[in-house]
Symmetry: C2
Subunit: 327 residues, 2 copies
């Protein structure tokens, strides 16, 4: 049983869906009509020993817990507004440091904390729930059509390279460390994408190889992704190679980029890149069926991403996340 | 530094309060205007080893995590509508059992889960965020005036007696066990209270002795509570005495009753009891200042309740919660 099966089985026993719920569990956020306006809602939990180790300061953990939720709102084309934050901590000082990181992220992303809970726990644990307004959209995981292009914002692999460094006790290049500890969710770009008519988006949290599958499953389509097209920065490439990881494989499976993966027509993607001033790189296309990853023109087998309940690292990947699981 | 200080210090670094936020952090729920209607929002986290031990089945933990949040909404006079649920669990089977309890509570209380997160964690951890509609009210912790009567709904001490039994490995009387594991938040009564003009309420989660102080601090008043007036059921009294606890002290400090503590005029309280068909028992009155607990006409010193970060059990209490802290 994996994370998705838990969610799926749970979905079987839910109460009747109220009419205000426009999109239920299963996308980056749910969409719900509250008082005549549309809102998106999501939650994400970070746990010490699984999502981070001692290399993350409590401030970083609090900051990141907010940022990853903001990213879920961005993937719907929403504007983040309110959070509820619960923290479990071995001592009040760690709780306070973590909450200072939460407050810093709230300032950074313009979200206001409505409340939360602090309690003792052996492992530092932060759970954030978020509410965002939906000015346009929503962008969903479903609705991709054969012929749509697949594109990613910004760059891939930098957060995974940063994690490799952190796991070896290194703190430079600082840019890569920061990419892992302090993600930059694509809020403005997400809102612009929804306004320009992009209907399909997901944030890249589990890794491109995994997240593109979510779009394919929810849309009932296939895809072809050319790993040679992935946008990698020079320092990401250098760090990956220095640590004997293939840069493209790291970028495809590493996860935690918190960039957006979009499916749309080429013309729309071009307008989005021009308007946002951010790279929007075509990395493949939507097909009728089957998920294929290509490298040097050949199909790469067994590419997968992060699964929170899987016991084994997915075959054929170089996902540093797989080191994070305590057994 | 205690739990309240963590929250207080955190409050110092918040972003500017948006105009939609009518009541910020510090009450049972925040109140926020979303799309022209008023909503209440809160979150509560339960962690294995602190809030419960092996005597709680994962289903009970999931159920209770929803119920205690529903109780926060009830204390505002709100109607619970939506939850976000995050769970950390050592294995997917435990996660699924916990989520089944969540689903059962959602059915019971008519709340719909908008989403959440499941992840691995060494200790079973559940965090629930809740959104409720506010048909009237809100009832707040502030606004109590000298001369108001203090009243509690239902009965006190049953959950604490249930906890004493659970901690000794006993499973009967089943009613008391159930009072601890499956709280019954006072949603209908809370809505009725707000409609009848009760302005001051809190749910009794930390224990009457602690929660009455929250009202006094937030209202800038004092109180006098007569412990001889506390509504105790016969089985609660018998269990407390069999375990060498003073029943009234257990009821005053035990916590987790999830009854409501109200401050209002006697006439309003009488109408509320008649309309709801539930006991609403006057246990004291609001005074100008000072918090006094009386027993047999004499002042009882040092009564306090549950503090999630305190290292020592409060003096003079018989709070079984104090056994729950691992150090």
């Amino acid at each position: 049983m994996d994370e998705f099966e838990v969610i799926h089985r749970f979905s079987g026993d839910l109460p009747v869906q109220p009419p205000e719920v426009l999109v239920p569990i299963g996308d980056d956020c749910a969409v719900v009509r509250l008082g005549g306006t549309e809102w998106v809602a999501a939650a994400d939990m970070l746990v010490s020993g699984y999502h981070f180790e001692d290399w993350a300061a409590p401030e970083d953990v609090g900051y990141k817990a907010v940022a990853v939720n903001v990213s879920d709102v961005a993937a719907m084309g929403g504007r983040p507004r309110f959070v509820l934050v619960s923290g479990g901590s071995p001592d009040p000082e760690t709780a306070l440091r973590c909450m200072n990181g939460v407050a810093e992220a709230c300032q950074e992303f313009g979200v206001y904390p409505l409340g939360g809970d602090t309690t003792r726990a052996d492992a530092l644990t932060v759970d954030v729930s978020i509410l965002g307004e939906l000015p346009g959209g929503p962008m969903l995981r479903s609705g991709a059509s054969p012929g749509d292009l697949l594109a990613v914002t910004g760059e891939l692999g930098a957060a995974a390279a940063g994690l490799l460094l952190l796991q070896r006790g290194e703190r430079s290049p600082e840019r890569l460390i920061r990419k892992h500890l302090r993600p930059e969710p694509r809020v403005g770009l997400g809102i612009a994408a929804a306004r320009l008519g992009v209907h399909v988006a997901i944030d890249i949290s589990d890794g491109l190889a995994s997240d593109v599958r979510h779009i394919c499953e929810m849309s009932g389509v296939g895809c072809r992704v050319d790993l040679d097209l992935l946008p990698l920065a020079a320092d990401t490439r250098q760090t990956a190679e220095a640590m004997e990881h293939n840069p493209e494989m790291l970028a495809a499976t590493g996860g935690e980029d918190y960039e957006l993966l979009l499916a749309a027509q080429g013309r729309t993607l071009k307008m989005l890149s021009e308007e946002s001033g951010m790279p929007v790189t075509v990395v493949g296309e939507v097909t009728d069926r089957g998920v294929a990853f290509l490298r040097g023109g050949s199909v790469v087998e067994g590419l997968s991403g992060w699964d929170h309940f899987s016991d084994t690292a997915p075959e054929g990947t170089t996902n540093p996340s797989s080191n994070r699981r305590k057994e």
